[in-house]
Symmetry: C2
Subunit: 401 residues, 2 copies
């Protein structure tokens, strides 16, 4: 698989953008055409699934949404070959920084079946070959989707090895991918829970564009507009509790907690709140323990902590945050700027919901995850983030003195 992907990557590197666009469009068409087969295989996955049934289950509307998601990627600008910068040196050398594909991506994920289609489309848009390793619970669905993707590639005259899938649930395949398949994989993108993240950290022998947990914080400063604070906290926690940008911990200034906490609690119907001692003195709540500050609940549970001010909020986030997304609600611009500068997360927000942590919402068109590391790309991973670059130097016979 690695060798095939490497060869396909060489083809993709110099394939015209229009051919890759056509392939992605044909992928969408083939997904629609084979919706029946995909739903049939998905039903077999669902029949033996023991958890996350809603996440796993497809219906006609979801298959159509998957096809539309792929079409959206077909319409995105092609990043390959774009000059990011160009300058001339005093000796006449002309230097351009040009976007290039990364090469071969290995993606290991435990997610909705549509990630199979999204990852293939975004990878192809960036000129990369990809080897997909879906979770075992969605394997039959993903194999069926992959058959449609392969036909789309073939329709456009691109090699089938541009998008491959590991056809087995055998977990040793994950180890093989993490080893780099004999130097053929350039980048691993993991997307999954704590166990996968730890395995990747221990075993990966190639660069990783990581998706750590999202223990996101919303901090309500003393200067916050009360109505805005209530709306943002409610949305940040409850709009969808299962996404990585959902707020997990509320930090709130002691000065305003007696007034604001009860208002927030009123708006959080169906949400369990777990508080520190100071906040429980204001509002009856389950006591929060140390593990709550570390928790990525992905559930209607909110940890609550009263803080002295912006510096204590920043310290809490530095201690317990995972570098994903944090927001401050404040009218005081000095407090907000201090928070935006000092908090070292991929995304920092002022007066907005952490649920905006999403490539689509950022205007990237699509994403296959949020990177929480500090190298290469940080934040939403879209087509542009799956590129590298090279320097193209044009001379007229210059030699170095």
């Amino acid at each position: 698989m690695g060798r095939g992907a490497r060869t396909a990557a060489e083809t993709l590197r110099s394939a015209p953008p229009e051919q890759r666009t056509a392939a992605i469009e044909m992928m969408a068409r083939r997904i629609r055409e084979q919706a029946g087969e995909i739903l049939h295989e998905n039903a077999r996955d669902v029949a033996v699934a023991t958890a996350h049934i809603d996440r796993l289950m497809l219906d006609e509307a979801r298959v159509e949404a998957m096809a539309q998601g792929v079409e959206l990627v077909a319409g995105l600008p092609d990043p390959v070959g774009i000059e990011m910068a160009r300058w001339a040196r005093p000796n006449g050398l002309d230097i351009a920084r040009v976007r290039t594909p990364i090469g071969v991506i290995g993606m290991i994920y435990e997610s909705r079946p549509n990630v199979t289609a999204d990852a293939a489309a975004i990878s192809l848009r960036s000129g990369n070959a990809i080897i997909l390793r879906p979770g075992s619970d969605a394997l039959r669905s993903s194999l069926a989707i992959h058959r449609a993707l392969s036909q789309g590639l073939d329709d456009a005259g691109l090699p089938a090895e541009a998008v491959q899938i590991v056809p087995t649930a055998d977990r040793s395949a994950v180890g093989a991918l993490l080893s780099g398949l004999g130097g053929t994989i350039d980048l691993i993108i993991p997307r999954g829970g704590k166990a996968l993240v730890e395995r990747v950290g221990n075993e990966a022998r190639v660069p990783v564009l990581g998706h750590l947990e999202g223990v996101c914080h919303t901090y309500v400063h003393a200067s916050a507009d009360p109505d805005m604070a209530v709306e943002i906290v409610r949305n940040a926690k409850l709009r969808r509790v299962s996404i990585c940008g959902a707020t997990e911990t509320l930090l709130i200034d002691e000065a305003v907690a007696p007034v604001l906490l009860p208002l927030i609690a009123d708006a959080m119907e169906g949400c369990e709140m777990r508080g520190d001692e100071a906040s429980r003195a204001i509002l009856p709540m389950t006591p929060a323990s140390e593990s709550d500050w570390h928790a990525e609940y992905l559930a209607p549970i909110l940890a609550v902590r009263a803080v002295e001010g912006v510096d204590e909020a920043i310290r809490h986030i530095a201690t317990y945050g995972t570098g994903h997304t944090e927001a401050i609600v404040a009218e005081d611009p000095a407090a907000a700027e201090r928070f935006l500068v000092k908090v070292d997360s991929a995304i920092v927000m002022w007066n907005a919901s952490t649920q905006f942590a999403d490539g689509g919402e950022f205007g990237f068109g699509a994403e296959i995850g949020i990177a929480t590391g500090k190298l290469h790309a940080r934040g939403p991973i879209g087509p542009e983030q799956l590129t590298s670059f090279k320097y193209v130097v044009r001379g007229s016979g210059q030699t170095r003195p």
Copy 2:
């Protein structure tokens, strides 16, 4: 050391650029002031050294050059806090991509003593803390240089932990750095030979901005201007044979080899040439073996291979190259563009010497290596390449529908 560096990184993150500039300037001053002590310790290193004496040995001129190199970095634009992009979303969210320091860098190197000063200055310019691990042969010199650097930090009111040095030649320290020192190191930069590169590949548990070998190629196309080809090959190989951008293999089109190879050989005084069968039929040379195509000689030796044309040259480079720097000499623009697009190296050049593969020559002001991987930064690693970024999102109470 890791905890100290982490704390220092937090201070550096929000220190004003002027303070970091002042610290770098004071570092240069302290290096000059303590030149005697640095030379004294360097003499002790030299006294027990068994190899690379010239590379290791300092004199007053080299110490002055080291101080000037540091001053150069002080004068470079500060990358931290720069807005790389900013845009508004239809919902009014204002999104900025802002440069940030990476955090804590671990640098493991086997190089000239001046790298100790360069790496500290470039790291500080980018707002990062750094832990230096010099080669054991330069340890006393590096410790003396480090004392000057520490005083420079102190002069400017910055924590000494912003630049630390591993004070022992014990090789287990390398393993500790590669493990990430308990999660305190964000990035490892290795700069050394094959043994170090392999150890990093096996043991690193944190991201690596790698400096693989530089097996650089110069390819002379049939359309090349003969005089230019001779000049470029000579410069690319012989200007300095010990730098990573020196050409190690000459590829030459069969069509012009009978005329050009003798001209090139005439210009390569003092250089051993090792050829494949076809080129030895033109010019008497030592036979080249498979290992020659893989060799980073860093010496006055040039491997020579005759090729059918640009595609065979591209294939040779894909097989034996290390992704560093490759050049084509050609008057035919179609051949040149094919080479520039198809060769996937950090730097590809047309009608110029591979010895220009250098951050200073690119206009970056300074560099601490050339990255040959495809993630994060590729090519010369200067202050800008040692930054990350974050998204700063400013709203007015937006919640996600």
